[in-house]
């Protein structure tokens, strides 16, 4: 390596806000008081909350310093498997802040919010076309929320057919939100394992599919990084016994413009706009998890629906089969704007996005397969899974490798997921990383592999360059301190 990847920097310590301030200070410009004081009911009024009084400079310094303790996508690469940490376009931030969107009340009369209604209507159409499904709801506020909505639709569909079902088939590689969402709707999870190739086998599904099973929740591509090649046959098995197919679309970044979900037999799919469609992660949201469904499930979508009639957009509140509302208003409109702008910026290049994401992942897989154990040595999609098997011989674990990557300026990949792979290290570079960035990542991983053999303490003691060293998570849980 030419230069050191990191140096000690200008990182200053900063107390909690509750350790600062003086009574009477103020950081908010008081609006003019142009009305008299009115009497209040003394029984109901209290003293107000115990917040510190801070002045603007203290607050600005506080959050500026805190921000400098964070690694963000704009700092460096986040090869987090199943998270699709792609670049967050700055123009989209500006556009979601346009006055007409930002300051619009959600209950405006429809004739004066046509801009927003058109944006949402068009976004629904684009997402339907991208996924190859027929109707979309933008209401769910996150992927898990989309999954819940999908499960509500499963439940409503079977109830309407007077055919209540109690089980859902879920692969053991599924993200935890899948069984959690199914359980929310009272479904019992029936687990199915992936076969030797890392994908589901139709006969395994056929063995457990019955008429008490509402359907299956698959992730495609799955969390091992593989396309479920037998998806159509599996969907046929499910459909033959009256079930539905739910697809977790978290890994959509691998297949845009290539895979047609409708033709694959999928009935409901959720998308993660904060993954595939470039909206920022925000340190834990807000995201958006719209759902796309086949025509027969359109009547079950949440209300209100947006209808277009002669160039005007109307909200339809009454749809008798709808699962109802899952959000107080229309969903995360401010996030939807960014995804919409991203789609308009890319157009059919969304297919290139997927091709390059898959190219990047396979390149990493080939480059590192001699340094890190690869449980499935076959072409992957947009992410690949390694394990710490080789490094374990030197008592170095996946966790240690992850922490050492930090010292080299990378956010660690996803670790210990999927659960079925012991010591999993899931790497998803995304298409927005250049060959140079990826070569640097590869070189870094090789360096860590060498350190594991010759100087393991460097890896075990990592990270060294972060503001804190490894934290005691055990006592944090045993004796929780959750407020100042």
């Amino acid at each position: 390596m030419k230069n050191k990847p990191s140096t000690p920097g200008l990182i200053l310590n900063e107390e909690l806000l509750f350790e600062k301030g003086k009574k009477g200070r103020n950081g908010f410009s008081a609006p003019k008081r142009d009305v008299p004081s009115f009497s209040m009911d003394e029984d109901l009024t209290g003293d107000g909350p115990d917040f510190p009084d801070l002045y603007e400079v203290d607050v600005v310094r506080h959050y500026t310093r805190l921000s400098q303790w964070n690694f963000g996508l704009d700092t460096g690469m986040y090869p987090l498997g199943s998270c699709t940490m792609k670049y967050n376009p700055k123009i989209n931030e500006k556009l979601s802040g346009l006055q007409g969107f930002k300051d619009a009340h959600p209950m405006l009369p429809q004739e004066v919010c046509q801009g927003a209604l058109k944006l949402m209507y068009d976004l629904e159409q684009y997402l339907a076309r991208i996924t190859g499904l027929d109707a979309v709801s933008l209401q769910p506020a996150a992927g898990a929320h989309g999954e819940l909505t999908g499960m509500l639709i499963f439940s409503a569909y079977h109830k309407k057919n007077k055919d209540p079902r109690s089980k859902i088939i879920i692969p053991d590689t599924a993200h935890g939100t899948n069984p959690a969402s199914a359980a929310f709707c009272g479904f019992k999870t029936v687990s199915v394992a992936s076969g030797d190739k890392g994908i589901l086998s139709p006969s395994d599904v056929a063995d457990i599919m019955d008429e008490d099973t509402a359907g299956i929740m698959i992730t495609n591509p799955n969390t091992l990084g593989f396309f479920e090649e037998n998806v159509k046959e599996i969907a046929d098995i499910i459909h033959a016994k009256g079930g539905l197919v739910y697809c977790d679309g978290a890994n959509m970044n691998a297949i845009m413009g290539i895979v047609h979900m409708g033709r694959s037999g999928v009935d409901i799919l959720h998308l993660n706009l904060h993954k595939t469609f470039s909206t920022p992660h925000g340190g834990g949201g807000p995201g958006a998890g719209p759902i796309c469904v086949v025509e027969k499930l359109r009547p079950f979508l949440p209300v209100p629906r947006i209808i277009e009639k002669k160039g005007k957009y109307i909200l339809k509140e009454k749809c008798s089969d709808s699962v109802g509302k899952v959000h107080s208003f229309f969903g995360n409109f401010g996030v939807l704007i960014k995804a919409y702008a991203y789609i308009l910026s890319m157009g059919i290049q969304l297919k290139n996005v997927s091709q390059l994401a898959v190219l990047n992942a396979n390149y990493i897989k080939e480059a590192l397969k001699n340094d890190f154990h690869l449980p499935y040595d076959r072409p992957c999609m947009h992410e690949c899974v390694f394990t710490d098997k080789k490094q374990a011989e030197h008592k170095v674990t996946t966790l240690d490798i992850a922490k050492r990557l930090i010292d080299y300026g990378f956010h660690p990949p996803t670790i210990y997921f999927p659960l079925v792979v012991k010591g999993a290290i899931m790497v998803e570079p995304t298409e927005t990383e250049s060959k140079e960035n990826i070569d640097l990542f590869i070189e870094t991983m090789k360096t860590i592999a060498k350190e594991t053999e010759s100087q393991p303490q460097l890896v075990l003691d990592a990270p060294k360059i972060a503001k804190v060293s490894r934290l005691d998570e055990t006592s944090a849980a045993r004796k929780p301190v959750l407020t100042a």
């Binding site: 801070l54 400098q68 700092t75 919010c113 159509k232 413009g257 904060h274 340190g283 949201g285 503001k467």
Partner: protein
Amino acid sequence: MMRYLPHTTADIAEMLETIGISTIDALFSAIPEACRHDKDLDLPEALNEWDLEKHMNALSNEMADSSTYKVYIGAGSYSHYIPSALSYLLGRSEFTTAYTPYQPEISQGTLQAIFEYQTYVARLLGLEVANASMYDGATALAEALLMALRITRKKCVAVSSAVHPFYRQVIESYFKPTDFNVIYLPFLKNGRTDLDALTKSDDLACVAVQSPNFFGVVEDLAGAGNVSKQNNAILVACFTEPLAYGMYKNPGDLGADIACGEGQSFGIPKSFGGPGLGMFASKTAHVRNMPGRLVGRTVDKDSNRGFVLTLSTREQHIRREKATSNICSNHGLCALASAMYMALLGGTGIRELARLNYDKAEYLKAELKRNGIAIPFEGPTFNEFVVEFPKGFNKKSKKLLKKKIIPGLSLKPYYPELGDYHLVCVTETFSKEDMDLFVREVFS
């Protein structure tokens, strides 16, 4: 080349060589023909940044936003000033582009900020612990009811019909596939929940009351607390306007075990209804049943103070189908915005701003009353209240819309029995001149 895509032809060629294939298409050979698109995606031609901006400006210009219209609606989405310092700080990409803080060593910014947020929310609501956020007030309330059912192991919840109608719809949706029961409590002539209507029950998990309620009326939370106790149930207090707690007694002090609601008023733009902020707090005793992420304080190897996500065994990534909720991504950046807001406002500032909102609304109420408009609900309100406009007000509404005034929200679609009642909201963003003009126009 598209500016987010770095691969040159040479890059691609080198990478294909390393992989040992000749074309990118070969990477997708495992995908059966039957599963593929057979033509290019039907999407508009890609727009450059300049044309995209023009397109979006055109859409934005078709919106009645607060800068050009006077919109006297609250109903779960409120107009409040957002300090420039807040917008500036929130735009820092180390906050916006960061991932969930699963790697705490490089996420101390987010983690300390959320720990501070949790502290602010707990103090605001008078409870002991708050989570790191949920999606919005409606889903937070639905989750609060499910939490109460878990804690008490009972099957029934009582919800006031003065809770926001959309929140009640979300509750209905969440509860449909379960075998839990929801009973609704009617409201009285004074606009408050009829607590006496609750018939004694052994199977009641909680009583849920919104305060200030959908009519803007401040409820008798202490009374609701007593009724809950009599039924061995939990009091769940929810809200759509947290600024009210800058001056009114908080739910924790009045007996709520769980308090939840919409935090959008605190530094988050209305943005046509989302993203908002689900604030959620409870007593410590219930923490292991709480949904959502929690940030806890700890130390590192060198005894430096640090923060981590904690009590994760409640959550989906550990407990899967046995988790307290399915929530994963929450509304971290919105929680951060609200913490910045509470920081800038301060304890003194929030009392003053709450008081100003109260007085502005009381001023409009008094002026309307003085001119003969009936105020049907006698109870104390905060920054919104119900008025009874004269019959056939719809015609007047349409005229006012042309003058860029939206005179509140008609309650007919939500409470048909309330006929011509309108819900009118005033915040610190409305001047005396605005309100005088509103009154003049209503009576013109």
